[in-house]
Amino acid sequence: MNGKTLISILLIFFLFLSTTMYAQDGENLFKSKCAACHKTSSKRAIGPGLANVHKKYSKKWFKSFVSSSQALVKSGDADAIKIFEEYNKTVMPDQELSDAELNALFDYIKSANPVATGADTDQVAEEKIVPFEPTKEDILIGQNLFSGKQIFQNEGPSCISCHDIRYDAIIAGGGLAMELTDSYDRLKKEGLEGIITGLPFPQMKVSYQNHQITEEETTQLIAFLKEVSEQRYYQLGLTSYKNTLLIWGIMGAIVLMGIFPIFWYKRKKESVNKRIYERQIKSRN
């Protein structure tokens, strides 16, 4: 078997796969990639509900938005900007999907909601919101889970390693991922749940895919994030080292620079011959 035949066999194999399997793939794709933030109904989660997408936008627009929403926003597309503004400039992560997969997704969303009417939006407004009232224990456990004082049941990394938060009981966290102080305000319980269980962000996916955070832990974390969000205006913010470290560093340097000359006051400061050399130069001029 030479190289050419191998390549053509592989090519045929992939073509076959992508054309015949995409129909049932759409659902799986939606569940794994989109469901964390989107619903197929018109109900709003983190992102907008996707019913009627096929009516509102062209297939081409849909594909380019999913591939890179930010690129579209930057290119000045009016629709894209509108959505971005509406959802508090929450960035939708780019999805690395093939053309066939995007087609499958579009078709799935279309088929999942064949009869969507304008009444949908009213339904949402009428839906009764169940108030989320966590207990103090939940908040405390959530705090411990966040800071890593208590490890996750499935041994996932603690949140603090990537996320920072303005909360006096916790020292400053990492700067890799979003600052989560007002996350509850922005995303509410459903949104946070979606992110924690759905793992839409690539780095989170890598970290937690094999170390899923349990349902109970998710609730406890959200309870803690709610507390943080509510208490954020009462925090002193002293645990953030951003400026403190710099200020203390400068102050320490000044103090040390003051002490060293006292310690080494009697040191040899210049060449023994300095005076002679200077006089030599003076007389030469």
Binding site: S271, I276, R284
Partner: protein, 516 residues
């Protein structure tokens, strides 16, 4: 008693003519390399003067040597705690300007320049930067009292001398000087060894030569600041410190060190001395006034059977013992008590001894009858119209020693830690030998007076003749009694001599190793 052998040296300052041949011989052999241009393992200084590096004797500047602290001897500028504090910046280190910026001249300009309207010159260029410089300083910039206001008047040895005494030294008619050649003293209690954080410096067991292992040296430069004689130098090219090695490769093959071999005035003597190493710590910590006496007491009599037995127990070879018995340095230092260590107050117990100079002491100024002199000259002849004359004649025994041109206190600050009596006795010994020899060869002196002078300093005619012989007539083999090296025995401690012999000539100095 822990008897060890030490190669020691005596420099006879009365014989030094300040020609710097020793410095050049040393430079040619050892320090004519990149990074070593400014080093002078051997240098000759004019005294009074500030020396090289400038004011090296002033330990308030450089913090070299040892000091007595709570009954114990401790390094003045380094030591464990101090070294740790100063590990990234040693504040007592001399800078290149304290030595001098080494320079050469662009001699090739003189040969290769095309024809021009103006005279071609060989500009001075720095040997560090390679750029043209204005020469500001050299290793003997104050030679023969040049630049006196800047150098000689700042001599650190003027401490304890009153302003009047100092001023008197610089009156034109009284002005006197002598030369002080210096090499590494190969001390018994070396401060450089004590200060090295890498333990790269060691005192060789068989002959006491202090060496720096170039493979172990880590460029801390604590030895440079610790050595009170500033005889350890940092090579900025190799990043290692270097110092006088007493030409050990020459010594091992029975030759005198280059500086000594080439000495025009034949001022240098070299020989073995035996000493009791168990006393080093106690002697180094002794009181100021006992320092010299106790150091000399540590040096053992090589004829004493007890010393010989003890030396053999320590593995000192018979040939070394014989060399110790014939040693000219033992005679000068111990038998005759004429040689003194330089700056014993640094407490390193230097093993280079100096016979102090008599000449600047002996000659005096007497009044001169100008009128009588005029009568003997015709009107055209020129004559010295000063009412004083340089006078080296003697009217009373030792009269001139007491009335010296160079204050005894100054010499005492150099060689006896301020002990003027000891300095006076040493000078009187030199004077007594001269009186004796003048009596023998000229016979114009009062015999009684000569005998009295010898008796007063504890010499007899036989000793005086021996001193005269070793001072004036001594041949090469009298001046340098070099013991057989017995490297084979020293090597035996660390490797099999057969291997060493078999691999000689192939990877002998740098062992070839497996791998890249």
């Amino acid at each position: 008693m822990d008897v060890r052998s030490q190669i020691s040296m005596v420099f006879h300052l009365d014989k030094c003519i300040g020609c710097h041949t020793c410095s050049i011989a040393c430079k040619n052999i050892w320090t004519d390399r990149k990074g070593a241009e400014y080093m002078w393992w051997n240098n000759v200084e004019t005294k009074p003067g500030t020396g090289y590096p400038t004011k090296w004797e002033d330990q308030e500047i450089y913090k070299g040597g040892w000091e007595k602290n709570m009954g114990k001897v401790r390094l003045k500028g380094s030591g464990k705690a101090k070294s740790l504090l100063n590990i990234f910046h040693n504040p007592h280190l001399p800078v290149i300007d304290d030595y001098y910026e080494p320079f050469t001249y662009k001699y090739l300009n003189l040969i290769e320049s095309p024809e021009e309207d103006t005279q071609v010159t060989a500009r001075p260029v720095s040997m560090i930067t390679g750029k043209p410089i204005d020469i500001k300083m050299g290793p003997n910039w104050d030679d023969d009292l040049s630049g006196t206001p800047d150098f000689a008047r700042n001599d650190p040895n003027f401490k304890n001398l009153s302003a009047g005494e100092q001023e008197a030294m610089f009156q034109l008619e009284r002005m006197a000087m002598f030369y002080l050649p210096r090499i590494c003293n190969h001390c018994l209690n070396p401060a450089c060894v004590g200060a090295c954080p890498s333990r790269a410096i060691y005192k060789r067991g068989e002959d006491g030569i202090v060496l720096i292992n170039q493979n172990v040296c880590r460029a801390w430069r604590m030895c440079v600041s610790a050595c009170p004689y500033k005889k350890s130098y940092y090579n900025w090219e190799t990043g290692k410190s270097e110092k006088c090695i007493l030409c050990y490769p020459r010594l091992e093959s029975g030759q005198a060190p280059a500086c000594m071999h080439s000495c025009v005035g034949r001022i240098r003597y070299l020989g073995v001395m035996l000493y009791d190493a168990s006393q080093i710590e106690a002697v180094a910590a002794s009181d100021d006034e006992d320092l010299i006496k106790r150091q000399l007491d540590m040096i053992l009599d090589p004829f004493d059977p007890k010393v010989i037995a003890s030396a053999k127990k320590n593995g000192i070879a018979d040939s070394t013992l014989k060399a110790a018995q014939d040693s000219p340095t033992y005679k000068f230092v111990k038998e005759w008590g004429m040689a003194l260590p330089l700056h014993p107050e640094f407490r390193t117990m230097p093993m280079l001894f100096y016979v102090p100079p008599l000449l600047p002491v002996m000659a005096s100024l007497t009044s001169n009858d100008v009128e009588a002199q005029k009568g003997t000259l015709n009107p055209i002849s020129k004559f010295w119209e000063r009412a004083t004359k340089y006078d080296a004649t003697i009217d009373t025994i030792f009269g001139t020693v007491d009335d010296a041109r160079m204050p005894l206190k100054y010499l005492a600050n150099l060689f006896t830690n301020g002990d003027e009596e000891l300095m006076k006795i040493t000078l009187k010994k030199l004077m007594a030998v001269r009186l004796h020899r003048r009596d023998v060869t000229v016979g114009d002196l009062n015999k009684e007076m000569v005998a009295q002078s010898l008796e007063e300093v504890g010499l007899d005619t036989e000793m005086a003749d021996a001193i005269y012989y070793l001072t004036s007539l001594a041949k090469f083999d009298d001046r340098f009694v070099i013991p057989a090296a017995h490297r084979e025995q020293a090597i035996e401690m660390s490797e099999f001599t057969g291997d060493r012999k078999g691999s000689a000539g192939f990877g002998f100095t740098e062992h070839p190793a497996r791998g890249l």
